[in-house]
């Protein structure tokens, strides 16, 4: 249903050569007004509906970046599958990493409803043209990092993704509903790892605290730059792709997470952290945005590793794809002959 001619009647008419340029402009602004009215009315936009080109482009960029993040996100955790401390933990981690692959696929499917090809999106990832979440460019040094990632990184991701379940673009919203349902176990298994380590010996507690210290700040930066430095946010809010600002979501995550850390005896790695009795919110120290931007620009610990691992995995799978294609061709020929 997404591969049929995606143009609407209006677009087809606009594409036809005999339409006067003047009519086109009038029609475009009428379409735009009608589109915004539908958004304001909380209606979902579906693949074949008319949409402004910048809306489509913004969605393609955001959804594909989101998909890439899920896929690259498998790498830091995948490293630990063979080193999980028990069979129980190994089964859980395998299931979680498999879920992340699924999230990537739901999202690539959603992006494809906007008229792009999956192979092209993958190529953009592999050539470094497309971005993914900076969080996955940090290394996973110990088993406690797997706990911290599930608890903090997946926790931050869920905080971001819950409002996306009501995003104005139907296929993206539906993908997010599925993702959010699966994410809730991810955060809990991570928190359970941290809890068990905090109940262990001094060395284990130290390991958990060290992971907390390294992952806390990067996970806060997952919400993106502060509202003042986030120029595209206003438009995304007007289109209801975004429902809450970066700072609002970050605050929500902080307020939920600090009591969880304290409950299991972890120390927050922020000497300036305090609870504001008046606002009812926690207040944090300054975030190191220079570090954030340097990781975005590819200066993170693992930028090169992650991309290389992706490219290598894709290249190593080439023979499987070729064999599958050859097999399908052979079957087709067989059926045609029969």
């Amino acid at each position: 249903m997404y591969t049929t001619d995606l143009r609407t009647k209006a677009q087809k008419a606009a594409d036809a050569k005999d339409t006067g340029a003047k009519d086109e402009i009038v029609e475009a602004s009428e379409n735009e007004a009608r589109f915004q009215a539908r958004i304001d009315d909380e209606q979902f936009i579906e693949p074949k509906d008319w949409m402004p080109e910048p809306y489509r482009k913004t969605l393609v960029r955001q959804i594909s970046q989101h998909a890439h993040s899920e896929i690259v996100g498998m790498l830091p955790e995948g490293n630990w599958i063979s080193r999980a401390p028990s069979l129980r933990r190994k089964l859980i981690l395998l299931a979680k990493v498999q879920d992340e692959a699924g999230h990537g696929l739901y999202l690539y499917s959603a992006a494809e409803t906007l008229g792009v090809e999956r192979g092209d999106l993958l190529e953009q990832l592999h050539t470094g043209k497309a971005k993914y979440s900076t969080i996955f460019n940090y290394p996973t040094l110990t088993w406690a990092d797997i706990g911290a990632i599930g608890w903090l990184v997946d926790g931050a991701a869920v905080t971001n993704q819950i409002p996306l379940c009501r995003c104005s673009y139907g296929p993206y919203a539906r993908a997010m509903v599925k993702v959010c349902k699966e994410e809730s176990f991810h955060q809990r298994q991570g928190f359970e790892i941290m809890t068990v380590m905090m109940e262990g010996n001094a060395e284990q507690r130290e390991m958990a605290q060290d992971a907390m210290n390294r992952w806390w700040w990067p996970s806060l930066m997952m919400f993106g730059p502060p509202d003042g430095d986030s120029p595209n946010s206003a438009q995304s809010m007007a289109w209801k792709i975004k429902r809450f600002s970066n700072d609002e979501l970050r605050q929500r995550f902080i307020d939920a997470t600090v009591p969880q850390a304290e409950a299991i005896g972890l120390t927050m790695p922020d000497p300036d952290l305090g609870f504001n009795e008046v606002t009812g919110h926690y207040e944090i120290g300054d975030l190191n945005w220079d570090e954030f931007w340097s990781v975005v620009k590819g200066e993170g610990h693992c930028n090169r590793d992650r991309l290389d691992a992706r490219v290598e995995a894709y290249a190593d799978g080439a023979w499987v794809r070729e064999a599958a294609e050859a097999y399908a061709e052979k079957q087709k020929a067989k059926h045609a002959a029969a």
């Binding site: 591969t3 509906d49 699924g102 090809e117 999956r118 399908a328």
Partner: protein, 95 residues
């Protein structure tokens, strides 16, 4: 088929016997058999269904949103097709 742009299949799942199949998303595959296997891995990891349909996306013909009015509007002024349109005397308890 190169660059991983395999055919797209739409996936429908029957969540349990007695219910109809419902659209859940799509997968890429070289043929229908692979589409079923991929759909199984992607959409039924948590017992979401007991039966799968895979349909080549290009076989689906969809109505045009531009035709919405002439397709669906005519039903709007036919309220007499709903039971609530009719007055039932107060002394009738069940109907």
């Amino acid at each position: 088929m190169s660059k991983g742009n395999w055919d797209l299949f739409e996936i429908f799942i029957r969540s349990k016997n007695g219910l109809s199949h419902k659209h859940v998303g799509s997968v890429h595959a070289t043929d229908a058999e692979m589409a079923i296997e991929n759909a199984r891995d992607l959409y039924t990891r948590r017992m979401e269904g007991v039966s799968l349909w895979v349909v080549p996306s290009k076989s689906i013909v969809a109505s045009d949103p531009g035709d919405m009015e002439h397709l669906f509007e005519p039903a709007r002024d036919k309220v007499y097709r709903h039971p609530t349109f009719y007055k039932v005397p107060d002394n009738i308890e069940n109907m």
